[in-house]
């Protein structure tokens, strides 16, 4: 130990203060010196000892000597690499960092901090990278495999020229082989078994259209002129693929130039020859007797048969199988081939459709339509080698290139721009070269094509991987790749000038080798999606909030889940798709008719959706490999269309087209072509006459679905896909927050007002009326602040007005009228009594005055004073409110806020602070008062300070994020239907929680910005919150900037045994316990997590199959000890039940002529009356009775114990939204026999001992379950079904 100390101390003065002046040393330093000397002394002793036992134990001794040697070395050399390393290891070893770091360390640390986002970010990157790279240990086995493969390929026999179709036939069924020997086992061809039987059927993957019978050219095979290891494996820049997809080792086999003729670039002849070459090579490999031990497959990127490659999966060698690597063989074109590459310029037409497809061609197609895609795919056959060299030199010159590329690929893979088993964004499979040249572009800069100013400048060499990655994101976010052609700076100009690309409509990205357009065939929508994702990520990186580590979010989290990524997802069954105007030219250009369908789908959708979406994407699972007996790739069965809404325009009712005054007929025609019969000429208010499309919607739910309607419409008219072929789950979500239609129809028939807008208007009316009462009131009203969820768009159901006269026409189980609460504030006055009890009485007097004034002013308004909670609560608490029912049927409850109460309550609490302990007994009364005041103050703070403020913030939040309200409603419904809302989780807590997923959307300045990746639909919001709940570690708390201000996350203090375990803090509630003080407790919080996980899994399954949304809201009741069924017909809220049965309220209309029950002739209106809820509240802890302030023990007992009957015995779960059952679990502790106590706080029965058992001193009791159940039945008489 002393040795360690010594080594730690010694380099310090030497390295950092080499020029220390002795004469200035103050006394403290003397101490330091002496300490040093002391250490030196002990060290010397140690050393002697070391020598002593090194003789006995040579190994240990050697180690010690080595250490000593190193130490000596350092004493002389000062700072060395070893020193730095050792310093670090020491520090981590000892856990102490008392000595200053060496220069080397300082350099490393500074570098990490300067070149990376933060030092911990760098460390995390360092930790991440090895996990996405291939293991070096696996390389050896692969290398030997590649060597043998090389020799096998080089030994391939040549095949003389043949007619293409004949050649294909002979490959498929070799005549020479007897049929008996042929064997196909699911397409997998076992080479080992058949080394003696070379009879393998191999299909030639001829591209579309297949070679004609009258072809006057021949295909043949020669052994490759060159075999090269290319791609990421060769350059060691490979990155692990998602979902454990194999590592791909690319091998380029150069087809000898002799096989080609000059005209082969025309009409797909090159691709046919290439296909035959590949098939012949396949045949050779598969039947070769070398015993390679591989399975062979075909693979076509983007389902394009022209890009077919051969995939070899080793099966024999265990080492190889373990390394999860596959070899891909890519036939390439040599640069010396007779095919003139200059003919492949994008503006040239190299496929004469008319001639090639004479049988089915339509004469209208122009013969010389350019075929840019075809050309560039042909060019791709020349690139692999060039790319290999380019990447190699990049790697050489820029040390961070490899790491940056890995980061970029990991980022992209996590977002589905790559391959995997989950749906991925279309167009990104097999685009490895493009990612490489993306970085190349950043490093080399952009070719100044348009004007030199706008083009990108090259970056410096000293950039770190993180900086390079970041600038790549920056590029992706800024550059409109979909529309602006991009050219990497090349050494000696590009092969084809930018003008050549001018006519090509697709995205253009040409790399430095100027070989080909690397983005050819990429749907523009995919690039738009990429841009959107880059922007969102960049915002996260830009956020100045350093407390939240974004590393996990950026690199480690899987973002591919459709539900949380897209505002709307539509699954399209493509099997019936048919283009309206099938064009042979497009089919040829895109490689196959189905690819052409997808390409034009993307274009049409882009045009139709326009600014409604930020981005959208076509997604599908990238085509997997196919057996070599299958020539063409599988056509896609399903694709997903994911939309990311732009909240500003998404729900626009009218799509405007060109104006009628426009003479440009082409534009009008295009508009009509896009929209079909839906396009109409309309005259608008401002006098303009325009082509337009109008979407008819009846309500807000339908309006939210407009973008889906657009997609449906486009797919229907252009691809004849009926609605039944499209699946989305939005409609299912609408249903769960809607009242049953039979009830709604009664309301609409009677013309009752409904909806949030109407409710707010009613509230505004009330406020106006109240303010006009000034004359009748002693004090004028300063403000009326609403505090109800019905007035901030977050209640599960739309508020509906229920006029008093109409109540009797509703069945009992549909009579519930929600009461909307508000807080009245009067002008300040000193006339209020300065006593808490008297203030409450004063409020009653005020209420009476307002009530009579209002009833005088408004006809038909009823007002009642509700003295709530009084019997149990102390008289100093605010306990009364004024209940109003407006003539239209809206119900409000007003409370009076008197600010003086706070002072008086605080004074009452402080009054006992000075009382010394020994006198406390004498002041019991004062302490009791203090306790009452504490609870009253908590209620006051919540009701009058926090609730109005919370309401304002939530309402503002809802205006900023249109999907927020809907999300809250869905989540509330979800929690309610799982029996957790209100009883365990307060409505306000849900609102804050939901805001968390929206508040992530911030612009660079840190202000909330709805366009930055916030959910744009409530379904996505729902999925995001479920995801949050699934992963949220509530032990750590959550900070939600609900008020749009900056703040730091709270320091969470975990109070053992606290009623609420969630910490949801906002700017105004730093403690984060205002709405979660009393729940959820640990049991409920765990339950939320479990439910969220189950729901998440369920939604994930929905990605592949149909989702029954209701199933997410059906509560499993297996876990409860008992479930009590309530009488549905007596519950005023039953109609809100998630599975409400209309029979319950239809029952009474058995006799059509009997209007109503005689007993119900004079119905008493009871707004807000919910006996079931009152019953449940009586049985369990009331949610808001505890406070954020740590309570004195006695008070806590009073608050949580006094009011509820079974708070210590049972945990009760109930759906407040019309639940007709409630479940309960016994507290585990009461089921254990325990000694009898007077204050056991549960109903107990003695445990009878068995005869033989030895009696203990104290009687033992256990909870009397049967009696408690009977009690519940008695207490709920009339509500509970026995």
């Amino acid at each position: 130990m002393a040795l360690n100390l010594k080594r730690k101390r010694r380099p310090a003065p030497d390295s950092v203060f080499p020029n220390k002046k002795r004469q200035l040393v103050p006394p403290e330093d003397d101490e330091f010196r002496s300490a040093l000397d002391e250490n030196e002394f002990t060290h010397d002793q140690e050393e002697d000892e070391d020598e002593g036992w090194s003789e006995e134990d040579p190994v240990a001794g050697d180690g010690m000597n080595e250490l000593d040697e190193r130490e000596d070395g350092e004493a002389w050399e000062g700072i060395g690499k070893g020193g730095a390393r050792r310093g670090l290891s020491q520090a981590s070893h000892n856990g102490a960092t008392k000595n200053p770091p060496t220069g080397q360390e300082v350099r490393v640390i500074k570098q990490a901090a300067d070149l990376f986002r933060s030092s911990s970010f760098k460390l995390q990157i360092d930790a991440l990278l090895p996990n996405v790279r291939p293991k070096e240990s696996r390389r050896a086995a692969l290398d030997s495999f590649l060597l043998s493969l090389h020799s096998v390929i080089s030994a391939a026999p040549s095949i003389p020229p043949q007619h293409p179709l004949e050649a294909a036939r002979s490959l498929l069924s070799p005549a020479s082989d007897s049929a008996s020997k042929r064997e196909r086992s699911n397409g997998k061809v076992k080479v080992k078994d058949e080394s003696s039987a070379p009879s393998v059927a191999i299909a030639v993957p001829y591209a579309f259209p297949a070679p004609p019978e009258d072809a006057n050219w021949k295909v043949s095979f020669e052994k490759p002129s060159e075999i090269t290891l290319v791609g990421s494996w060769a350059n060691k820049v490979g990155v692990k693929a998602k979902d454990n997809k194999p590592w791909i080792v690319d091998i380029a086999v150069e087809m000898p130039s002799g096989l080609f003729q000059e005209k082969d670039y025309m009409n797909g002849r090159f691709f046919h020859k290439r296909a035959f070459y590949l098939a012949a090579l396949t045949k050779h490999i598969v039947r070769s007797e070398s015993g390679l031990g591989v399975e062979a497959f075909y693979q076509s990127h983007g389902s394009d048969p022209r890009l077919t490659t051969l995939l070899l999966r080793p099966t024999a060698d265990e080492q190889l199988v373990k390394s999860n690597a596959q070899v891909r063989i890519i036939p390439t074109l040599s640069s010396q081939s007779p095919i003139p590459l200059s003919k492949l310029s994008p503006h040239r037409s190299n496929f004469r459709v008319g001639r090639a497809l004479s049988s089915e061609s339509t004469p209208t197609i122009a013969i010389d339509t350019p075929t840019p895609l075809y050309n560039s795919i042909l060019l791709l056959a020349t690139t692999p080698r060039e790319h290999l060299l380019a990447v190699h030199s990049m790697k050489q010159d820029f040390p961070a290139y490899g790491d940056a590329l890995a980061l970029l690929r990991v980022w992209a893979n996590q977002r589905g721009y790559g391959e995997g088993t989950a749906p991925c964004v279309r167009g990104f499979d097999g685009r490895g070269a493009w990612w490489n040249s993306l970085l190349e572009l950043l490093i080399l800069g952009e070719e100044p094509v348009r004007n030199a100013k706008t083009s990108r400048k090259p970056l410096g060499k000293g950039l770190s991987s993180y900086q390079l990655f970041r600038s790549a994101l920056d590029f992706l976010a800024r550059q409109d790749l979909a529309n602006e052609p991009t050219f990497v700076k090349s050494k000696d100009g590009h092969r084809f000038s930018p003008q050549d690309y001018a006519e090509y409509a697709g995205p253009v990205f040409v790399d430095s080798t100027s070989s080909a357009n690397l983005l050819s065939g990429m749907p523009r929508s995919s690039l738009g999606m990429l841009r959107h994702d880059a922007r969102v990520t960049l915002d996260i990186l830009n956020s100045t909030d350093l407390t939240n580590d974004p590393f996990h979010e950026i690199f480690l989290k899987d973002h591919r889940s459709l539900a949380t990524r897209f505002d709307a997802v539509i699954r399209v069954d493509l099997s019936g798709s048919k283009m309206r105007n099938p064009s042979a030219h497009e089919a040829v250009e895109y490689g196959s008719p189905s690819n052409a369908v997808l390409a034009s789908m993307s274009t049409y959708l882009q045009r139709a959706l326009g600014s409604r979406v930020h981005a959208f994407a076509l997604l599908h699972t990238p085509p997997s490999s196919r057996p070599i007996t299958q020539a063409q790739p599988d056509s896609l069965a399903d694709i997903y269309i994911g939309l990311v809404y732009d909240p500003e325009h998404a729900w626009r009712l009218v799509d405007h087209g060109p104006s009628a005054s426009d003479v440009d007929n082409a534009e009008v025609a295009a508009f009509h072509e896009l929209w079909g019969s839906k396009a109409e000429l309309r005259r608008f208010k401002d006098g303009s006459i325009m082509e337009s499309v109008v979407w008819d919607v009846k309500n807000a739910d339908e309006r939210a679905r407009i973008p889906l309607l657009v997609v449906e419409h486009v797919l229907a008219i252009h691809f004849s896909l009926p609605r039944s072929a499209l699946h989305s789950w939005q409609a299912g979500f609408d249903e769960v927050v809607r009242l049953p239609p039979s009830i709604v129809s009664i309301h609409t028939a009677a013309g009752h007002q409904a909806g949030f807008k109407a409710a707010m208007a009613a509230f505004d009316d009330l406020v106006k009326t109240l303010k006009s009462l000034d004359e009748d009131l002693p004090l004028s009203i300063l403000s009326v602040s609403p505090t109800s969820e019905y007035l901030r768009h977050t209640s599960v159901f739309n508020p509906i007005a229920m006029p008093i006269s109409a109540v009797s026409s509703f069945p009992i189980c549909a009579r519930f009228t929600p009461i909307m609460e508000a807080v009245l504030e009067f002008e300040k006055s000193a006339r209020w009594p300065d006593d808490l009890r008297a203030i409450q009485k004063m409020k009653l007097a005020f209420f009476e005055r307002i009530a009579s004034a209002l009833m005088g002013a408004v006809r038909g308004l009823t007002a009642r004073i509700a003295v709530l909670e009084a019997p149990q609560d102390s008289a100093i608490e605010d306990h009364a409110c004024l209940e109003l029912v407006t003539p239209l049927g809206w119900a409000f409850a007003l409370r009076i806020w008197h600010a003086r109460e706070e002072t008086l309550l605080t004074r009452a609490i402080d009054a006992v602070a000075q009382i010394p302990k020994q006198f406390q007994q004498d002041h019991a009364e004062k302490f009791r008062e203090r306790d009452a005041a504490t609870s009253a103050l908590a209620l006051y703070t919540r009701r009058f300070i926090h609730a109005p403020r919370h309401h304002r913030a939530v309402a503002a939040f809802g205006y900023r994020f249109p999907a927020y309200g809907g999300t809250v409603r869905l989540i509330k419904r979800w929690l309610a239907s799982h029996w957790l809302l209100r009883g365990h989780i307060s409505e306000e807590a849900v609102e804050i929680l939901c805001a968390a997923v929206f508040a992530r959307a911030r612009d660079a300045g840190g202000a909330l910005d709805p366009t930055r990746g916030a959910p744009g639909s409530r379904e996505r919001g729902f999925a995001c919150v479920v995801e949050l709940l699934k992963d949220w570690k509530w032990e750590r708390g959550l900070f939600v900037p609900l008020y749009g201000e900056d703040g730091s996350p709270p320091a969470v203090t975990i109070v053992a045994g606290a009623a609420g375990v969630w910490t949801l803090s906002t700017e105004f509630d730093k403690e984060g316990k205002m709405w979660t003080a009393c729940g959820p407790d640990i049991v409920a919080a765990q339950r939320v997590r479990v439910l969220a996980r189950a729901t998440w899994e369920c939604m994930k399954k929905a990605e592949v199959g149909a989702l029954d949304v209701k199933s997410l809201f059906v509560h499993p009741t297996d876990d409860y000890d008992f479930v009590v069924q309530l009488e549905q017909a007596t519950l005023p809220r039953y109609f809100q039940n998630i599975v409400a049965d209309p029979v319950v309220w239809a029952r009474r209309s058995k006799y059509a002529n009997m209007a109503q029950d005689p007993s119900e002739k004079n119905v008493v209106v009871r707004p807000g009356f919910d006996p079931a809820q009152m019953f449940i509240d009586d049985l369990r802890v009331r949610l808001f009775s505890a406070t954020a302030i740590p309570l004195p023990k006695v008070l806590e007992m009073m608050l949580t114990g006094c009011q509820s009957v079974y708070s210590d015995t049972l945990k009760i779960f109930y759906d407040p939204l019309g639940g007709d059952r409630f479940g309960a679990v016994w507290e585990p502790s009461v089921r254990q026999p325990r000694p009898f106590r007077v204050l056991n706080h549960f109903s107990s029965a003695p445990v009878m001992r068995k005869d033989g058992e030895k009696g203990r001193e104290r009687g033992v009791v256990v909870v009397n379950e049967a009696a408690i159940l009977d009690e519940i039945i008695r207490l709920g008489h009339g509500l509970v079904i026995v």
């Binding site: 960092t97 360390e105 933060s118 454990n244």
Partner: protein, 347 residues
């Protein structure tokens, strides 16, 4: 009563009552406790029964029905109420009529009633010349059941000691070692006047919304009483103290006049603190120079903390570097920890 059993259940006997389909166990014991003092007066030892584990919805009437065969009950007090000073006499069903309350029903505002009672006492004992306090019109309160926490306790005082012992005889002490059945359960009586379940909640809802004029009368009389009390207090204070405490002086416009004269540096009415005379004098004299002096001094001391000696500068730099390194190490340790939990496998 077997000695052993009484030991094992703290002296309680068991009184089973039968429910619909089960048995509920009530534990009873004769009151034991302080032989003198407050509690002894409240609970006379020989005729008080201490009951544990009552049904949560038990009412006093139900208790008296349960013990009807034993004798009349003077009062029944539920301890959970008494503990918090609430409705001490809510349940005294039998003895209620004779009370001085004059038939006023209780409930909503017990504390107010308490005040009033105290007031009344005070008024009776004190001089008769003073104005009588106004009577508070209380809010209507039908006899609704109050649900209490399960397993709560009550004291039942019988009219005479023999009833109490009869009641105790109903219950049997548990014989722990034998299997013999405890006494036959008595049915739990139901108070028909106090509804349960749905009817209870309907009644509760309606009772909480009294007619407007009642509320007004209640509010006005309550405030009248408050005013009366205030006046009383003020008078008493003026009577005994030279300080003019009591109510603040409010002028016509509703402004409070802050004037010296309250106790201990407070204004009259006690609401606002008032500066001491010394401070006011100082202000008047204008000892600003001194204040400025002080601030300069403070500034000086601040600068002193800066590095002056070279070693201090070194020390500072060194500490900064050490801090840097410490942070680095912390980050590293955190990342190592994450690494150990396989956090860095992205997929």
């Amino acid at each position: 009563m077997s000695g052993r059993a009484s030991q094992s259940y703290g002296g309680f006997s068991m009184l089973p009552v039968s429910y619909r389909s089960s048995q509920h166990i009530i534990y009873v014991r004769a009151q034991v406790g302080a032989s003198k003092g407050k509690s002894a007066i409240a609970w006379p030892q020989d005729r008080t029964l201490f009951i544990v584990n009552l049904p949560p919805d038990a009412t006093a009437r139900e208790l008296s029905l349960l013990f009807r065969s034993c004798g009349a009950i003077e009062k029944a007090v539920f301890d959970s109420d008494a503990e918090w000073g609430l409705g001490e006499d809510e349940g005294s069903s039998d003895a209620e009529d004779g009370d001085e309350q004059g038939g006023l029903s209780e409930g909503e505002d017990e504390s107010d009633d308490e005040n009033r009672r105290k007031k009344q006492k005070f008024a009776k004992e004190g001089e008769d010349s003073q104005p009588r306090p106004p009577k508070v019109v209380s809010l209507p309160n039908p006899s609704l059941r109050r649900l209490r926490r399960t397993g709560h306790t009550a004291h039942v005082v019988f009219l005479d000691a023999s009833s109490c012992s009869r009641a105790l005889a109903l219950a049997t002490p548990p014989i722990s070692s034998s299997k013999t059945q405890i006494a036959a359960p008595r049915p739990w009586p139901t108070d028909i006047e106090a509804p349960t379940g749905f009817a209870h909640y309907v009644a509760l809802y309606d009772s909480l919304r009294p007619p407007l004029d009642t509320v007004l009368a209640h509010a006005e009389t309550s405030i009248g009483l408050f005013d009366h009390e205030q006046a009383e207090k003020k008078r008493a204070l003026q009577h005994e103290s030279k300080y003019r405490k009591g109510e603040a002086i409010v002028d016509e416009d509703g402004f409070t006049l802050v004037t010296r004269g309250g106790a201990y540096g407070k204004a009259v009415g006690g609401g606002v603190g008032i500066a001491s005379k010394k401070f006011t004098l100082q202000q008047a004299k204008g000892t600003r120079a001194g204040i400025r002096d002080g601030s300069r001094k403070r500034k000086h001391t601040e600068s002193k903390e800066d590095a002056f000696y070279a070693f201090q500068i070194h020390e500072k730099k060194r500490n900064a570097l050490i801090d840097l390194k410490r942070k680095w190490e912390e980050d590293k340790a955190a990342v190592e920890k994450l690494k150990a939990s396989r956090k860095f496998k992205p997929y």
